[in-house]
């Protein structure tokens, strides 16, 4: 097991993992716990990571596992039925995205997590659809529909337009 390799290759993703963890959990303390557990798990299984393959996607996959394990433990695992529900609790309709980011931050936080994570992985982390499918372990079609639906819900929240 090569400790130095882990430090030089995996640890540089710390801030990006934390950014996504923060969007998942909504608060810094939980995000830090999530990232810490993710990197410890990654460290334990680093000898199973094949060098030259996609380290970033591998780390985000572990992050997603740790998050869903935690949610499952807390008996709050998101269910498919909920995702297809009425949409998020939204702030009052707003004109645009360019209102200082506060409305957007609120809207993304209010999005059901499955949509929120898909949108963040695509729009912030710029993972490809294929990588997101790997991370979330869902079919490509599901990735496409989650991104589409997530953006539509955000648009509805921010502009008052019906999704």
């Amino acid at each position: 097991m090569d400790r130095e390799r882990f430090d030089t290759e995996a640890l540089p993703y710390l801030k990006r993992l934390y950014g996504t963890a923060y969007r998942m959990t909504g608060n810094p303390a939980d995000a830090e716990d999530l990232v810490q557990e993710t990197l410890l798990r990654a460290f334990r299984s680093f000898d199973r990571f094949i060098p030259g393959t996609n380290l970033r996607a591998w780390l985000f996959t572990i992050l997603h596992h740790v998050r869903t394990d935690g949610l499952r433990r807390a008996m709050r695992a998101p269910r498919t039925e909920e995702l297809a529900g009425e949409g998020p609790a939204v702030p009052p309709p707003q004109e645009a995205l360019a209102s200082g980011g506060e409305d957007l931050a609120r809207a993304i936080a209010a999005l059901p997590e499955a949509f929120r994570v898909a949108v963040v992985l695509r729009d912030v982390e710029e993972l490809s659809y294929g990588e997101i499918a790997q991370v979330l372990q869902v079919p490509l079609g599901t990735v496409m529909s989650r991104i589409h639906r997530g953006r539509a819900l955000l648009r509805a929240a921010l502009t008052g337009r019906k999704p």
Binding site: M1, K15, Y18, L97, L104, A105, M144
Partner: protein, 236 residues
Amino acid sequence: MSCASDQVTAYVDDVLDPAARAEMEAHLATCTDCREQVAFERELKAGLRALPIPELRPGFEVRLRRSLAAERGRRYAGLLPLAAVLTLLVLWARGAAPFVAWELSLDHAHCFGQDRLPAKVWSSDPLEIAAWFDAQGTRIPPVPSGVAELGLVGARYCPLLDRVAAHLYYAGEERRLSVFVLSGPVRFPDDWTARSRGNHVRFLRSAGMTVALVSDKQEDVEVFRAAFRTTVASRY
């Protein structure tokens, strides 16, 4: 084409194939709603990327690295019993006659296997050889200058795995014999003899020192042992 908002999303993310993309572009030229969706989704990307993320709290990275170090300690803790067994094995093997015999046989083959013997001092005079070792702080017992067809040719120090030995070379027509004078303990019963890697090895105690004779010919070892005993006896 009619409006297909999921296709608009796919267009924004550039995952449409060229034909679908061309069709979408033609549609966008005529559809305000879909153009607005494109504009929104593009703006959304920029907006999301610009959203602030709180800084990691001070000390988080230090705590993380500490946890990783502790994790590493746990990984290797599992190997401790194995390391302990290996250490005990090495401690036991060090000084055990079969282990030393194996080391000496290996070194004998190594030195005599070279084109030219790697001696550091060349002489057939036992006193000269003894003086050379003496100058470097090693006392060797009196040795014969030759036995039967074997004659003393030179010597050097040879590093073994667990010690350094004074190595004296005896050679003759098709015959080779090594005399090792060993520092440190070797555990062997009196006049212990062994075969190791095709060589005969015999350990002797002489004037408080451990001497080992190594040769591929058993008779050479036995003849040399007798002569060696005589030499030692005549000096003391």
